[in-house]
């Protein structure tokens, strides 16, 4: 009588249905998260698809060079940002010297400068025909290259230097917060136990701040992996540069995809490092009690050294490039306008604005979906989709091209079959592709901000609103929206500014003849016409200053734990 298969099927179906979300929010969350994660999934599928021919070729030719150079770059930047970031953070939090208050916030200014723009400025100043070497030749009467030695900026060392100078603020910010959070008691205890200030730093403060510093270093290294402009311009052939090269110059999408897949191994390693360090942060809280920090008074030569150490990255990473860009912008203003500066700026603004709106909208849907408590699958999908922030733009771009091309081809085939009309490629090679890439990369930024904002609205407030007669939609409009409005603005702003700076995704996915400020500056610099594009670069830096200014005004003002006022108006 019994049907064994049907009986056997039933628990499986039940298990599956419990696993899959059944509510509307759960389904929406899952679908949206999967949409954003598609580029990542595409890269993962390629990575798992055997391509022995390509591999043989890569193995025999470029693979080891890419690995060696990428590892060197990451190691150099990790070390550089550690020394610069931790050192400056220690000086401004624990010591007293002239200018400390200024350095406290000014040290994050270099964050406003994209790596590639600093690379162009440094090259412009330090190459053979640049201002520095010209001045040296004039001063010492050298006539040509044979007369003296000067370091080549377009090199691995140059790339590390340039990127360290704009990425160290990640370490600075996190190390600074960690030092401030440490109860000064532990340092005092260390001193009463007979350690001097230096030993106390080395044996107590630094180990306690280690998780935060590691998080900062991994973030800096993720940015370094993402960088395309600097390594391409300097001819440092890392994976990111390689992907671009293989895709555009060798026209091999599958080869680029295989490189992207290998690069993902580095990314996954960094993500794991970051996650484990973040977990560690929780156990390194010594006390919530805040006291005045010791403030070692520095005088004379020591104060001078401290000032020099803090001033160096600000001058090289922000003041110098800002001055250079400003002067070129003034001189070449008319040239820039003639080179379609206004159209290109408009392109950048529209694209970034569109991406910001889309990212905030999608971030809102996902944050809501998770809040509504849908099952484990949507949750996992959202976490996966927000990994994009760690994935280099070049990898995501490849991940966008593949599914979009498949989709376009499918539509094309379908349309030809049904209507006998071939619409051609709908999305590939349009701005839609760029927007998709931006979303895949920057969604985590908006999602995280929106989620944090929504966290301020307690579940009981939902319950109160509902029992007072508000429908779910009214609850959203009357309670949630007013409370998260600021977070939404912040999220949109962050995505907007990052899109203004974005280079690798844009340059790989842009339609023919379409330029944003970033690609415009990159193109001109590559053609040795950097001065003419300085106005564009200056605009990007100016946009980058907005979030930096907000950061300086809010987080850096007070010590953590001293912030007053809750979520309330």
């Amino acid at each position: 009588m019994s049907h064994p298969t049907a009986v056997a099927d039933r628990p499986a179906t039940r298990a599956l249905s419990r696993f899959l979300p059944s509510d509307r929010w759960g389904i929406a969350t899952l679908v949206v998260a999967l949409f954003v994660a598609t580029p990542l999934i595409a890269v993962a599928i390629i990575a798992l698809t055997p391509a022995p021919d390509i591999w043989k070729h890569l193995y025999n030719t470029v693979l080891f060079g890419y690995v060696r150079r990428t590892v060197t770059l990451m190691f150099g930047i990790g070390l550089g940002t550690f020394i610069l970031g931790t050192g400056t953070a220690w000086l401004v939090t624990m010591c007293r010297f002239p200018g400390r208050g200024f350095f406290n916030w000014a040290l994050i200014l270099p964050l406003a400068v994209p790596t590639y723009i600093l690379a162009f400025v440094f090259t412009d100043q330090l190459e053979y025909a640049g201002a520095v070497q010209v001045a040296l030749r004039d001063m010492f009467g050298w006539r040509n290259r044979q007369d003296y030695w000067f370091p080549e900026i377009r090199s691995m060392g140059g790339a590390i230097t340039v990127m360290t100078l704009v990425l160290y603020p990640y370490v600075y910010l996190l190390a600074r917060a960690a030092f401030l959070e440490q109860s000064v008691c532990v340092i005092e205890v260390s001193r009463t136990l007979g350690k001097n200030a230096w030993q106390s730093f080395w044996h107590v403060a630094l180990p306690l701040a280690r998780p935060a510093i590691v998080v900062g270093m991994t973030l800096a290294m993720m940015e370094a992996l993402n960088d395309f402009g600097t390594v391409d311009f300097f001819g440092v052939r890392t994976f990111t540069a390689g992907i671009y090269d293989v895709w555009l110059n060798m026209d091999s999408i599958s080869g680029a995809a295989q490189l992207a897949a290998v690069l993902m191994i580095f990314v996954i390693a960094l993500i794991m490092l970051e996650r484990s360090a973040r977990r560690g942060q929780k156990y390194h809280h010594t006390s919530t009690k805040m006291q005045a920090l010791p403030g070692y008074k520095l005088r004379g030569a020591r104060a001078g050294l401290a000032i020099a150490f803090c001033a160096l990255p600000i001058v090289l990473g922000f003041i110098l490039p800002a001055m250079v860009l400003l002067s070129y912008s003034v001189v070449f203003f008319d040239v820039a306008l003639k080179a379609n500066f206004l159209t290109i700026t408009l392109n950048s603004l529209t694209l970034s604005f569109g991406a910001a709106v889309a990212a905030v909208g999608i971030g809102l849907v996902l944050a809501y979906g998770l809040r509504m408590g849908s099952g484990p699958l949507p949750r996992a999908a959202v976490r996966f989709a927000s990994v994009g922030y760690a994935v280099p733009g070049a990898v995501l771009a490849i991940g966008v091209i593949i599914p979009l091309a498949k989709f376009d081809n499918a539509i094309d085939a379908l349309s030809s079959q049904l209507f006998g009309v071939s619409p051609g490629l709908l999305f590939s090679g349009t701005v839609v592709a760029i927007l998709y890439g931006y979303l895949a990369r920057f969604l985590a930024l908006s999602f995280g901000t929106v989620e944090a904002g929504l966290g301020k609205v307690s579940r009981n407030m939902d319950g109160a609103a509902r029992t007072l007669g508000a429908t779910p939609f009214q609850t959203m409009a009357r309670v949630h929206f007013p409370l998260v409005r600021t977070s939404l603005m912040t999220a949109g702003l962050l995505v907007f500014v990052d899109c203004m700076k974005e280079l690798p995704i844009t340059i790989i996915l842009r339609p023919f003849g379409y330029d944003t400020l970033a690609t415009f500056v990159f193109q001109y610099a590559s053609d040795e016409l950097f001065e003419e594009s300085a106005l564009g670069a200056l605009t990007i830096v100016a946009a980058g200053l907005i979030p930096v200014a907000i950061l300086a005004l809010t987080t850096l003002r007070s010590r953590p734990g001293h912030a007053t006022g809750s979520c309330s108006a």
């Binding site: 009981n460 319950g463 109160a464 029992t467 007669g469 309670v479 409370l483 309330s568 108006a569």
Partner: protein, 366 residues
Amino acid sequence: MIPPLTTQQTMNNTTAPGLHMQNVSHAFGSHEVVIDVSVSVEAGELVCLLGPSGCGKTTLLRLAAGLEDLQRGQIRFGDEVIADSSQGRQVPPEGRNVGLMFQDFALFPHLTVMENIAFGLPQKNAGRVGWVRDTLASMGLAQYADAYPHVLSGGQQQRVALLRALAPTPRVLLLDEPFSGLDVNRRAQIRQDTFQILSQAGIATLMVTHDPEEAMFMADRILVMRGGRIVQAGRPMDIYFKPEDAFVAELFGPINALPGQVSGSQLQTPLGAFPAGSQQDGATVRVLIRPEALVLSLPAESAQGPALTVMSARSLGRSTHLTLLLEDGAEGTVLSARMPGVFLPDVGSRVHAQVAAESLLVFPAE
């Protein structure tokens, strides 16, 4: 003290429905938090769900409000079925017209006090807005009408939250630990005020608390919950004086436990013999005595009962807390007693203890 309720409310009172939850069960995943519970609250009655955290009492409240979907059982307001698992019927929370007050008050931080209270009112209910204004004034909160919640004290926030829940004239009122967010000194007064407001509202009120004293003060009836089930239901006095098991007896604080043995019609305990009542001859039992049930006297008077050695005596002002050693074996048993007023015998001296037979709580030995 509270302005008279509007005619609309008074009319509602005559027809105000009771809250009836029948055979309700609820699980989170495989964890069953409510198991076949039935609760009835009549109009004008206040029923307390009392139990330790995690016993399922808050879940029951959320089910009544509609904030959790009913998995099993039926919920009615009067004769109207609000939720029924067998029919798959769930009226959403906004359609139930319940008032719910949260432990953390959940005031909307972006709205003023007045806007918070008016949140659930239809736009054009001018009469009700007038009632809100009058009530705010009578509570001494008139000057805060346009203030934001974060400037209010805990007690003021509590009253705003209560008013917000009452403003739309709910059919049923649900209170989730309404006093636990308040500091101890203000709690008694606020409890008193709340009691007054509620007795005038005249609606069925279900309140959740883990504080037995609060339940005694507020409730017409108490339902004691443990592990998702109701272990005892009754009037506050019954819960206190006639607990059905040791768990209920111990809810009210630390309690003295002594072994007992029934022989014939006598219950033998280390504190003397008592009438055995309904206990079986030969049964071994556990005798619980509340600290305040031990009546102590100094030896000089016409002292009765066994003598105990005073180990400590601490005056708490309004009462005195004593620990006493009862020498009933090799090690003896330590008992706690609470005497009204000041009663401070010397440490090491002996006092006599008397217990009224009806204040012995006798349970089968474990």
